[in-house]
């Protein structure tokens, strides 16, 4: 059973004795998009951090290409791009410098051309040399999203990528996701927006909050 | 005319820029004349002090540097207060310009004092009241400069520095007085300032020259820094662009 994507089996997590989710099982294959839904506090962020390998407070199994995450961290990370709540950018550095570092940390060298085209895609051309502290909430978010285009990867895990993004921007990002998925990428994201996504996508609903 | 309208005129960067432009050559010429003339006079023509020998010739820069450094801080605090109370932009520019000049002069006072100390007291440094106070003054200057640099927003920086300069100015007399009191507790008998009485009048005249020269130099620098800052701040106005690009 050689599944090519992410497989979640019987996942369980709780916080302060309140069960967030239990017996959660689903599968995310190449060319698919899954939206994790649920009201505030239902555990979406918690789930995403577990799947990104940032949190280890869970029971159950997470498999990547059929093997446990914990066994092949390095391979997994090579193919994962996680964008969380945080901005991930240094305020005193410019978008260009920030993205350069992001790439270097991933082991990608000398791709200023890529970075420029990414900045153009997110609508920040003209801001590439300005320090990030002088960008608005949405612009900072866009710098972060530009990483989607400089870092080759097969799985995107995005926690509320539309936060602070204007309407035109949301439509654009949806288009990017769609393109990525049709090229065989896999996307797992949370958002409170109503996704208008051209392909099919599934929703994993963490449901209401359980009190336990 | 009312105070506010006078302030308005004086506070106008454009007016100030043009007015100071006329003053500039005079200040430069006079300060250089007095400084260089006084220095040559003091270095070569005045007889040595009977106690300290020739090392006393440092006085002709040490004393002016110390005096101007002190005065500059008060000027800076007053400019800060004017900026806060009357919201005069020019005062902020003046305040920002004084900080590096004052710090440089304070450093000069410390340096020349230390160099003078070696031949007279046999040591570079003494925790004497006056010296300690100047050191603290130097720190106060550094504080203002660092605070200004730390802000990204120019207007906020000016206001914050104004507050700091005022708080510092209120503290300076307290600091001086308490350091003096502290020193008098510990004063070792061997070291003391020899006192003004020993200064012979023939030594005094070049000192007056360099003192005046240093004040004028301070004024000159203040104008230079202020004018550069005005250009920078008003870079989007037509008059500045005309001046620089000569249309």
């Amino acid at each position: 059973m050689a599944t090519t994507g992410l497989e979640i089996k019987q996942l369980f997590s709780d916080r302060d004795d309140r069960v967030l989710f239990s017996e959660l099982s689903f599968q995310l294959n190449a060319g698919e998009l899954i939206q994790v839904a649920g009201p505030n506090g239902s555990g979406k962020t918690t789930l995403l951090r577990i799947l990104a390998g940032l949190s280890s407070y869970y029971q159950g199994e997470v498999l990547w290409q059929g093997k446990s995450l914990r066994r092949q961290r390095h391979d997994y990370l090579q193919q994962l791009l996680y964008i969380g709540h945080g901005a991930g950018i240094k305020a005193v550095l410019s978008p260009l410098e920030n993205l350069r570092w992001s790439c270097a940390v991933r082991g990608i060298r000398k791709n200023d051309a890529n970075i420029f085209s990414a900045l153009e895609k997110v609508g920040l051309l003209g801001f590439e040399e300005q320090p990030c502290f002088s960008l608005s909430a949405g612009q900072q978010r866009r710098v972060n999203l530009a990483r989607l285009f400089c870092i080759p990867s097969k799985l995107w895990i995005l926690d509320e990528p539309f936060t602070a993004i204007d309407l035109a921007g949301v439509a654009e990002i949806e288009q990017w996701l769609s393109d990525f998925v049709s090229e065989g990428g896999a996307v797992l994201l949370t958002t409170h927006h109503r996704l208008s996504f051209s392909q099919d996508f599934s929703v994993v609903d963490l449901g209401a909050m359980h009190y336990g | 005319m009312s105070i506010s309208s006078t302030f308005h005129k004086w506070g106008s960067p454009r007016w100030f820029y043009q007015f100071s432009g006329r003053l500039l050559p005079w200040l430069a010429f006079l300060s250089m004349l007095l400084l260089v003339g006084g220095a040559i006079w003091g270095l070569a023509f005045v007889p040595p002090d009977y106690k300290q020998g020739n090392s006393f010739r440092i006085i002709y820069i040490h004393v002016p540097a110390s005096a101007v450094a002190m005065g500059a801080y008060m000027t800076m605090a007053i400019a800060g207060a004017i900026h806060l109370i009357w919201r005069m932009k020019l005062a902020a520019v003046v305040m920002k310009s004084i900080a590096p000049i004052g710090a440089a002069l304070t450093f000069l006072a410390l340096l020349t004092g230390a160099v003078w100390g070696k031949p007279t007291w046999g040591t570079w440094w003494v925790w004497d009241a006056r010296i300690t106070s100047v050191l603290i003054l130097f720190f106060l200057y550094l504080g203002v400069i660092a605070l200004h640099q730390a802000f990204e927003n120019r207007d906020a920086a000016a206001k914050a520095c104004a507050v700091l300069a005022i708080v510092g100015a209120v503290n300076i007399p307290i600091i001086y007085w308490s350091v003096d009191w502290w020193y008098s507790l510990h004063q070792p008998a061997s070291i003391s300032f020899t006192g003004q009485s020993t200064i012979h009048s023939s030594m005094l005249r070049p000192l007056m020259a360099t003192l005046a020269g240093m004040y004028l130099f301070f004024g000159w620098m203040l104008l230079l820094f202020t004018r550069a800052e005005i250009l920078d701040r008003e870079r989007n106005t037509r008059w500045v662009q005309n001046i620089v690009c000569g249309e």
């Binding site: - | 720190f139 914050a160 708080v167 510092g168 503290n171 600091i175 308490s178 350091v179 502290w182």
Partner: protein, 228 residues
Amino acid sequence: MADPGLISLVYAVLRRDVVASLRRGNEWSNPLVFFVMVCSLFPLGIGPQADRLAELAPGILWVVALLASLLASDSVFRGDFDDASLEQMLLSPQPLYPQVLAKTLAHWLMTGLPLSLLSPLLGGLLHLPVEGMLPLMASLILGTCALSFVGAIGAALTVGLRKGGLLLSLIVLPLYVPVLIFGSSAVKTAIEGGVYLPQLAMLGVFFLVATALAPLAISGALRISLDQ
């Protein structure tokens, strides 16, 4: 002044800050631990001779207490700035002066006061003669309160900046000098058997002046820091 509205305002702010600080734990225990640890570093750096340490004890204790207070004062407004509570304070129709006064007092209650109360212990560690203990504690109580208020001015000026930290030291340390001089001198005079009341009186004056005037500067500084 005796407006019940204002008093209850001061009380509410004081209470919230004290509760938050107690709950975090670090905030009040850290300056204390810092004080203890740095004081005990000195024998290691200088050497363990009791008589020499005794001579230096007033100076060391006071300098270290001053540093602890300084470092702690970075946090007076930091948290409130980060979570935008400061915005709420500035947008309140109530005057800022009592709010700021209460916050600074709460901060001193959680840092300067415990430190002063603990100081005799450290005095013992550094072989401070017994005559010095009471003046040490008294001078620290008065002095750290003045320091807290002066430090809060610097904290308010730097709170809007990324990385306040050591910048604060730069701004505030020169202003601490008079307090340090009179504080350490009180202890030294006491050890030498002199009359140390004048020094304590001076510290009292500093304390009163700082309490009355600093909140004005702090309020102004906070407004500036938020208006960027």
